[in-house]
């Protein structure tokens, strides 16, 4: 019963929600909205699970004085600080500290982390783009033209390069993206069917 009932729930909910899409009745729309609200609420409780796990791991790290335990204090301070400043009595989402923590701590660090990737991507590109085969050369040319698109130092070559880059982005790139998106869609539908029919049971974990 520990496995059969969850499998039955998945089957019933899955078939019901898939069929509901084709029923344009107000009750059906209400059920759809209500079910999505369910997902949001259950997801938030699952987030609490993740936060608790994060706190426990950090606390254990501090208690055991394991390597780099000092940084766990910073992580916990950030977490509790943000939660405290975002509480309703501090002003909630409009709280001064909450907004400033977001604008002057989260945004600068995250933006810089993404900017850092430019350097690591460049070194990865060197390894990947060595034109060893025709396929690698095609990859290299596609990337090179698109990268040169915004280069202000090309002079008279700037305009044709930009046009070529636009063509690559709008024609062969579009074709490749479409095929990939169709592939992803088919894969997702197939996986969803496997889950609903109980063929894929990885979400149930181990006993």
């Amino acid at each position: 019963m520990r496995k059969e009932i969850p499998l039955f729930i998945v089957l019933v909910c899955g078939i019901f929600m898939a069929l509901q899409f084709f029923v344009p009745h107000s009750y059906s729309q209400f059920l759809y909205r209500y079910a999505l609200d369910w997902l949001i609420v259950i997801g938030i409780f699952a987030l609490a699970l993740g936060i608790w796990s994060f706190i426990r791991v950090s606390y254990d790290k501090i208690q055991r004085r394991s390597e780099n335990w000092q940084y766990a204090i910073i992580a916990l301070a950030g977490l509790f600080g943000m939660i405290f400043f975002g509480m309703w009595f501090m002003g909630g989402l409009e709280s001064y500290m909450y907004r400033h923590f977001f604008s002057f701590i989260m945004i600068p660090i995250q933006a810089t982390m993404f900017a850092l990737l430019a350097f690591f991507i460049a070194s990865a590109a060197y390894r990947a783009f060595r034109a060893r085969s025709i396929l690698a050369t095609v990859l290299l040319l596609g990337a090179l033209v698109v990268m040169l698109r915004f280069n202000p130092f090309l002079g008279p070559l700037g305009e044709p390069t930009a046009r070529m880059a636009d063509w690559i982005l709008n024609v062969p790139n579009l074709a490749a993206k479409r095929a990939i998106i169709i592939g992803i869609g088919l894969g997702m539908v197939a996986t969803a069917l496997k889950v609903i029919l109980g063929i894929e049971r990885g979400y149930m974990g181990r006993d």
Binding site: W38, I42, A46, I109, F150
Partner: protein, 244 residues
Amino acid sequence: MSWTEFLWTTLGAILTLCTFSFLYKDNPFYKIAEHLVVGVSAGYFVILLCFTGLMPKLITPIMNGSWWYIIPAILGVLMWFRFSKKLSWVSRYPIAFYIGIATGVAIPVEMKNRINSQLFDTMKAPNFSGDWFVGVCDIIIIIGVVCSLFYFFFSKEHKGVFGGLAKVGIYTLMIGFGSSFGYTVMARISLFIQRVQELRNWVTLTKTRTDFTIVLWVVVLVIVLLILMEIIKHLKRKPAETVS
């Protein structure tokens, strides 16, 4: 700019520098920024989801008398049984509801948004009414999509005509991957330029302020303290550990 705003901007600039220090190697300044952003991001999403999810989707409906909204809350609480070794199976019920609803919704939505919409746009007749080149591009797109899909079909060996079409597909995919890569690199470089501009703005700002000296000393003090901490940590290590 007020004193407090200047302090916030300085904090942002220092954290930017701390993160950029990773270009040298993994170091305490980067680790501080890294751990701080993990904690702050988690806290940010907790509050955001409480106010935009929990309040309007659970608390407000229950307060307004829609008692049946208690059901997802009970299911959510059941999720916490995951921590219990004996009763972890209970958490399968809310997961089953979640997975069942999500997969059920996904099937028609994916069919409509990904598969059908892309197929409809691909199967349009080539447009030769105006510029002939547009029509040629439309044909290239159709051939590219079909051949790329042939490449993804692994149930048949890529030989003969099928293999030739799959080869055209892989070339199309390679151009696609290359251009996506180039686009991503340019996006990162734009972000890098933006961060450097922010730093430059901050440096310009510091020149116009006399009270910057205090901030500078605080920053220097923090950096010295961190370096001292690192030295003490290094000295405390056992000789064998240092060698390894």
